[in-house]
Symmetry: C2
DNA sequence: CCGTATCCTTGGAGATACTG
DNA sequence: CAGTATCTCCAAGGATACGG
């Protein structure tokens, strides 16, 4: 009916894809993407062995800018993955640490990194082959 | 006069952070980021139960654009995670399927999704608390 | 039906300077 | 020392139209 020439942008949500819980889908995606976020993963990794100060984090995660460090820490705090503790001293000292929840995420991410490490060579070979076939052929 | 007014992006690599293998670091990161890539994960999930045609993938992954579907499939093929099979018929038919390697990645990603599902409520609560504290206070 | 090529918008992310 | 505010740039991603 009503021949809508141009399907008017159905506000279709990400949709019931395959297997995941559709209701929580949005949040789940955000969380998974956090695990794929370069800076978030690096920061979490840097906190592995206990509390670290802001400044030290900048050194532990070399390429990161202040902006991104602050931003990432805020996200992680918001999700309850890290805690922030400010000591009322001079000079000011602030320490960040993983929560229990954060530690479990680190474990999950570590599993993924292990997978990547295990198949690293195979994937590199696959890419080389694919590229040469695409180019040369 | 070589006036590089603006420090020209030192090609500083991501650097020896924390714990991962520094040599393979770059590739590892790319692979992990693939697991955090929304579309890649959704496409892989859609391929879980055997080969799927291009057109059907568009429906299985609702929000995706042709551009991104094609692009994602190309990446996944390049890494050797999916295969492409074109049947010389009319109308043309092309099927994509997970490789053995792709299946193992799906497992790893599924673990992460499970983690997200398990802690979904807790994280949602954390966020709500954080936001209300930040705003109200 | 299966893609590729093109245009265009948006926000992610770096550099810099300033405040508590 | 620990952050915030502001500017800018670029590339990821959506819409669209066309080619095989």
């Amino acid at each position: 009916m009503a021949g809508d020439s141009r399907a008017q942008r159905p506000p279709e949500r990400t949709g019931p894809c395959a297997r995941w819980p559709a209701d929580k889908g949005d949040t789940i995606r955000q969380i998974v993407e956090r695990a794929g976020d370069k800076w978030a993963v690096l920061v979490i990794g840097a906190l592995e062995n206990g509390p670290v100060r802001y400044k030290d984090l900048q050194h532990s995660v070399p390429g990161i800018s202040q902006r991104m460090l602050t931003h990432t820490l805020r996200q992680l705090r918001r999700d309850g993955l890290v805690t922030r503790t400010a000591y009322p001293e001079v000079p000011p000292r602030v320490e960040y640490a993983l929560t229990a929840l954060g530690t479990t995420l680190l474990d999950a991410v570590t599993a993924l990194i292990d997978w990547a490490g295990t198949h690293h060579d195979e994937i590199t070979r696959n890419r080389a082959r694919f590229d040469s076939e695409a180019a040369g052929r």
